[in-house]
């Protein structure tokens, strides 16, 4: 797999296949943690880290253990188990060696255990491998990193939108979650504009 293709996968994961705004995974942190820019950044950094790590572990488990035994229907169960264990491990390591980062991430770290964006990345990467046999381990890792950065881009953009919403004169019936969902859909619409841009860029 050439470098150009890897760059293509990376950009596609950020723009055209953005896990929040195009695939609608991870809406819970997208709405819950995007009120302030700094928490949005912390959450996205943690998610990116866990996405890459989870893909690094689940891809070999799936390819070398589950597929040869024809047990690929177990992937959801096994992946959740592995991701939960990984998040716990990351938490222990951070607490010991990087207490400032651990304190900054706070509650968001355990919350990632049940984040469907992380599970989605690890599972959808495998579907891509079925469609295109050259989509191997390295490509999967690059895709996971791109997905994490795409998560960060979406979170930071939306945090900016919400900080502006704070000072707006919003009709009473739309205040709170309704206006947040409306603005989320508008941001998602804007991401449709990236359709096909990566393929054309790399031609």
């Amino acid at each position: 797999m050439s470098l150009t293709q890897l760059v293509g996968i990376f950009l596609a994961a950020i723009l055209t296949e953005n896990y929040i705004l195009c695939k609608f995974f991870g809406i819970c942190p997208f709405l819950g943690v995007s009120k302030k820019l700094d928490t949005a950044l912390g959450m996205s950094a943690a998610v990116t880290f866990v996405m890459v790590l989870a893909t690094a572990v689940t891809w070999p488990i799936y390819t070398f253990i589950l597929v040869p035994k024809e047990l690929d229907y177990l992937q959801t169960l096994v992946f959740i188990l592995v991701i939960a264990g990984l998040v716990q491990l990351v938490e222990i390591v951070l607490k010991k060696y990087m207490p400032p980062l651990y304190n900054a991430l706070g509650i968001y770290l355990p919350l990632i255990t049940t984040n469907c964006a992380v599970l989605g990345v690890t599972m959808l990467v495998l579907d891509k491998g079925v469609e295109n046999p050259s989509f191997g381990y390295i490509a999967s890792l690059v895709n996971a990193l791109g997905a994490g950065i795409g998560f960060l881009v979406a979170m930071v953009m939306f945090a900016g939108v919400r900080e502006r919403l704070e000072s707006c004169d919003i009709p009473k019936s739309l205040q709170g979650l309704p206006i947040t969902l409306v603005s989320a859909s508008l941001v998602a619409c804007s991401f449709l504009g990236f359709n096909g841009i990566v393929d054309k860029l790399l031609q």
């Binding site: 035994k69 024809e70 047990l71 096994v78 264990g85 716990q88 491990l89 010991k96």
Partner: protein, 262 residues
Amino acid sequence: MNILIAVLIVVVIGLIVGIVLAVASVLMAVPVDEKAVQIQEQLPGANCGACGFSGCSGYAAALSKGEAKLGLCSPGGQAVIDAIAPIIGAESVQSVPKTAVVHCNGNDDNTSKVTRYQGLQSCLAATQLYGGMGECSYGCIGFGDCMAACEYGAIKVCSGVAIVNPEECKACGKCVEACPKKLISIEPKKPHAVVKCSNCDKGALTRKSCKVGCIGCMKCVKVCENDAVKVENFHAVIDPEKCTACGKCVEQCPQKVIHLSK
């Protein structure tokens, strides 16, 4: 047969994850500071930051390591000091209750507005536009950013000036940070003279913009026997530690800027 392999694989993966986590948690255990936990239980849990640490847990950790002094917790007051002192094995200290003080008396009777402002009803926003609407560019805006910041309902805005109720005030200092004009300070809750003006203009200008503005005439400095009053930036500043509330400066002040607090 197939189902047995499936069960086996999930069990084995679960076991591996469990063992790795168990080993990791033993290898990388972080010792928990028992003292800090005990101290934190005694603190009010308001996480106001008046002590200068990042919330109650930060203060508790610093106390247990002996890096912080007792009595920094203003919401807790004497009760918290008495509860924590035996835990860290220190002598209990006498706490001086504190309260927030607004250094401006420019209400609607004493000064007036020169511009009309229709934007966001917030002092911070209004300050960005030509320093606010008032004739005095140092005075209270009156939209009550401090009132919004106060979690104890101790501040209210009366005819354009914020007023602190010392009975309710816990001296957490949130209003001090919220005020864009920096008019609020935390002072001990004891009788002392308070200068209710922060105007940095020269006397002649101040006199035009507000009836009760400090003109920096130095009369209070001369009359004070305890060297508690200074004039800085064309307005008087009183050190509450030195002030004995004798009231001489209050009588002398030609602008009636100095008030006695209870």
